[in-house]
Symmetry: C2
Subunit: 408 residues, 2 copies
């Protein structure tokens, strides 16, 4: 035991530089004085807690004249674990956040069904329910990486992904109740925002794992996430997870709506556009160290990040500290859940020299996250959506961390 | 398929009474008009989200002259899934919530160690980390059930339990760094609140799964939960999960502090007190239907609740709708995690007659939650702590739900 402790100490101790300070005598007294805490009573209990006055982490507001038709991103470098705080979940609105009264909100299921149905929120909450932890990612997440101009930090490059525990009614159950006619092949989902944003969903997925969700991370959905009702479509691009859900119409063709024709299609190099590219492919991102940070000197660091796949569980994350020459497996935090963010960690000793840190992931289907060159060779560079190339950060000799753009 | 749908419809439809309304013609138009939503732009994006103005769920403030030395409870009947919203995590403070500046906060590890250590928050965050979903439960939770006077609702009876994803440094790692001397058998953990609340932890547990946590549900700990640093001691009574942690002293005996002598000990019928009764035994609670609710009439309801054990995973939850004569297995929501709340669900058709709903759980050690009579036969009725008897709700013929006190 003693030897093991000593070995452990030698491995980590110097890695922290002056971090592991022996505190005896004067130093201990100083520590005790500094750390004496307030000796008066603190704040009383409260009805609904708020974060500390010292915490300032926030979503970056875009510089825009139309903040109702805009997005904000999750500060990925400042958060921890698998669950994204609801207050920091990314946003993407097309007509602002409506203030819907749940007592007046309803969901209509109609079109090619045996029995058109209308549910109040109270009625939905009586039905069999499910709770699942899933990421939601905008199709445009990391879209800036298609270009040659690197984004400065993790929030800017990849912040359009977040992960919550969602609770609601399985859509499959509602469809069984309504009785989908056999000619119904699509469902058009419509929101109650001012633009009545709508998207078309193939019925096979609708009979699968989609949740008509009314709760997020234990409480009611946040307004920006569709209060009081939204679709959660595990693994599929964010835009189709329709928020402020008010209507589901079963049809025999897609709506060909604005958001699935002029937007959220992928223009290939040939000039042809891929449409209905729903699934978010496997992606990983190192969140520490990441752009805008400065390492304080050589020594031990824990490289941390997140990986996710719209096709199931993450099975492996590998880290390269030499720009892709060699790769080593990172540890995955359990539980590793399908279509959920998976936290990875990798112990790393920085020698102080300039280096490039990369991550790549593999999902349970065997799919390996492609390099930027591999992705562009297949998809071209015309699209704004579905970028999932291997991403890197350069650690400069002085400790500053900046983004690397991988060569094509 | 058609037959299956019809069967499903017949099973659920009448169960909902008038809930599944066919909407065609006039009804459909009315629905569309009611549900038209605002046709003006909604709110813009924001830096840090807040819940809807329509949501009022809150912790009940106690009627007390000393709200700094008090507790609030999680509204268990109003929350969903496994994760408790941080804003609704139960509270128990002995000297109020201190406003600690993380830039000035430190953790000292000293006493019977080879190398006394002092860590700033920044230094702790560089070390290898872990994220785990665990419940924390006050030893006094459901303590009112020892008596014969029933608590009116789930929050009042059982609301001193909550569950979060905690991120921090394994305490075992810090102890390896410090080098615990072999005579060290206890660790005294001390908070930075005004009363410097302290508790003693056997070193075996400290070398196990304890987390020195700085994050909760993705962001920094909430002030009421120990910001910026606390212990998370999986499965052990809440009081020992010391908040605002500032000092860990290794010793060869427990501190015998106020909170482990006059409080948090269990007086048996014989007059002897059990001390250091750390582990929270398996417990379950039906949260819907629960006290204070009123069922709207006969038909289908999903019985929902939570189960947890300080000894590992929940392996089974059973529901009785006839006061304990017969039991049926409930569905457990995956992932079922050790020392975490586990959501259970049970489809139930109420015939409108008075009945008693009970839940009982079994954990992976094979331990079965005892009846109230079984518990009292072993422990007597002198203690305020560690009540985990089977709990029930009476559904009256009119639909009102009240608590049942099981006979001794």
């Amino acid at each position: 035991m003693k030897v093991a402790n000593r070995r452990k100490f030698l491995a980590l101790g110097p890695a922290l530089g002056g971090a592991l300070v022996g505190c005896s005598g004067e130093k201990k007294q100083q520590a005790a004085a500094e750390d004496d805490g307030p000796n008066r009573l603190g704040k009383p209990v409260s009805e609904y807690g708020e974060r500390s006055q010292f915490e300032k982490t926030h979503r970056l507001k875009p510089e825009t004249k139309t903040p109702e038709q805009a997005s904000t991103k999750t500060p990925l470098a400042e958060i921890h674990g698998m669950i994204t705080p609801s207050a920091l979940h990314f946003e993407r609105h097309h007509a602002g956040v409506p203030a819907l009264d749940p007592a007046k909100h309803s969901l209509m299921i109609h079109g090619m069904v045996e029995r058109p149905l209308l549910f109040s929120m109270a009625e939905l909450k009586r039905l069999p329910s499910v709770s699942k932890i899933h990421f939601i990612e905008c199709a445009g997440n990391s879209g800036s990486e298609w270009g040659a101009k690197p984004a400065p930090d993790a929030q800017t490059s990849h912040g359009l992904v977040s992960c919550s525990e969602w609770t609601g009614v399985p859509l499959a159950l509602l469809l069984e109740e309504a009785g989908a006619k056999k000619e119904a092949t699509w469902i058009i989902a419509e929101g109650a925002d001012a633009c009545k944003m709508n998207r078309s969903i193939p019925i096979a997925k609708a009979k699968g794992d989609i949740i008509v969700a009314y709760a997020q991370n234990g409480e009611a959905l946040r307004p920006e996430q569709g209060y009081p009702l939204r679709l959660v479509i595990p693994g599929w691009e964010g835009n189709i997870n329709v928020k402020w859900l008010r209507r589901l119409e079963l049809t025999d063709q897609p709506a060909m709506s604005r958001q699935e024709t002029s937007k959220y299609t992928d223009l290939e190099a040939s000039g042809k556009a891929r449409q209905f590219t729903f699934v978010m492919d496997a992606k990983s991102l190192i969140t520490f160290p990441s752009g805008g940070r400065k390492l304080e000197g050589p020594g031990f660091y824990e490289v941390r990040g997140i990986a996710w796949s719209g096709r199931g569980r993450i099975s492996k994350v590998e880290i390269s500290a030499d720009g892709g020459k060699t790769w080593q497996a990172a540890a995955l935090q359990d539980p590793v859940l399908p279509m959920a963010l998976t936290r990875f960690r990798f112990p790393w000793r920085w020698d102080g020299a300039e280096c490039t840190l990369l991550s790549r992931c593999t999902d349970e289907t065997g799919y390996l996250q492609p390099t930027r060159a591999e992705l562009i060779a297949v998809r071209g560079m015309n699209s704004n959506y579905h970028y999932n190339g291997v991403h890197g950060w350069k650690v400069e000799a002085g400790g500053n961390v900046t983004q690397v753009v991988q060569p094509v």
